[in-house]
Symmetry: C2
Subunit: 177 residues, 2 copies
């Protein structure tokens, strides 16, 4: 199972692709950050994120996309852009029929460190160990995207199959407009 993890953000959108299955070794496929400039207007920035994600999906062809769940309570100043970047990631996946799952930061931390309140250093250390890397992944702030992808490999399989079945049913049965 190949999973794209997306840590949504307007200025820096972390993306990481991991291969694995529950009980088997994990493999890092790629990790990167899609950047957009705060000088651009919001529409251009969201388009930049879409373009980056589309290129990644074309190249990596993941079986599932795991997006960090955004909460309205946190970081009110940036939360709208973060939510919109997450929405773009969901639509990019849905358009291709790729199942989308959302996991909270706590779920991802708990899945890979055993502690939902683990700090950044601990998450990075476990991502490095679980993917058997010689050094922490770079860019450093993409580690959360990898943690999310690993979390999904381990806990998201069943959920992804449910969502895929639901999406398939809705795509044929749904009316819009």
């Amino acid at each position: 199972m190949r999973v794209l993890g997306v840590d949504p953000g307007l200025t820096r959108c972390g993306v990481g692709v991991v291969e694995g299955a529950p009980g088997k070794a994990l493999r890092l496929v790629c990790v990167d950050v899609i950047r957009t400039s705060p000088d651009d207007d919001i529409a251009a920035r969201l388009l930049g994120i879409e373009t980056g994600l589309e290129a990644l999906l074309d190249e990596m062809r993941p079986d599932a996309v795991a997006v960090e769940r955004v909460f309205a309570q946190h970081n009110v100043r940036t939360v709208m852009g973060t939510a919109q970047a997450a929405g773009i990631a969901m639509v990019c996946a849905a358009r291709r029929g790729i199942p989308v799952a959302m996991h909270t930061p706590s779920e991802a931390k708990a899945a890979i460190t055993g502690n939902g309140r683990a700090d950044k250093a601990q998450v990075t250390a476990m991502v490095t160990r679980l993917l058997r890397l010689d050094a922490p992944p770079k860019p450093a702030d993409a580690a959360d995207a990898l943690a999310l992808a690993i979390c999904h490999v381990w806990r998201g399989g069943a959920q992804a199959r449910i969502n895929a079945a639901r999406l398939a049913a809705r795509t044929t049965g749904r009316t819009t407009g």
Copy 2:
């Protein structure tokens, strides 16, 4: 100038197209609501909104898109979905090079009624009068999308030109990934 106004929402996304220019009569081109089911998952719903907006943009070919600005403070329960629907509308427009503007509900109300705190009945009455309709537009909750489009015809021209120039500059000069 032909403007598509979008009142973003996941369950009901109001859309209205108006033609006009400052100092000239306004004309209603079309008004509708794009609906998605609360039973679908969020990715499928956002895709449904994208599909509906794409069909509308293909058919109506507006010169500008005006999206209601969403605030994090209001309606925490639904604000994330609303922000994501707004983000989809922005990307659909940006992908086609159509300038996007955002106006707050108060700006739209003030533009068409003279009062930023006007109630729904007053907004609907003025939309009906300004578009010289025999009856209030239906669906009733699409009146806000029309108000937004009218607001943009009147106040958004200069802003739209600035955004278009900026978008054109960024599209050629920007790097992603």
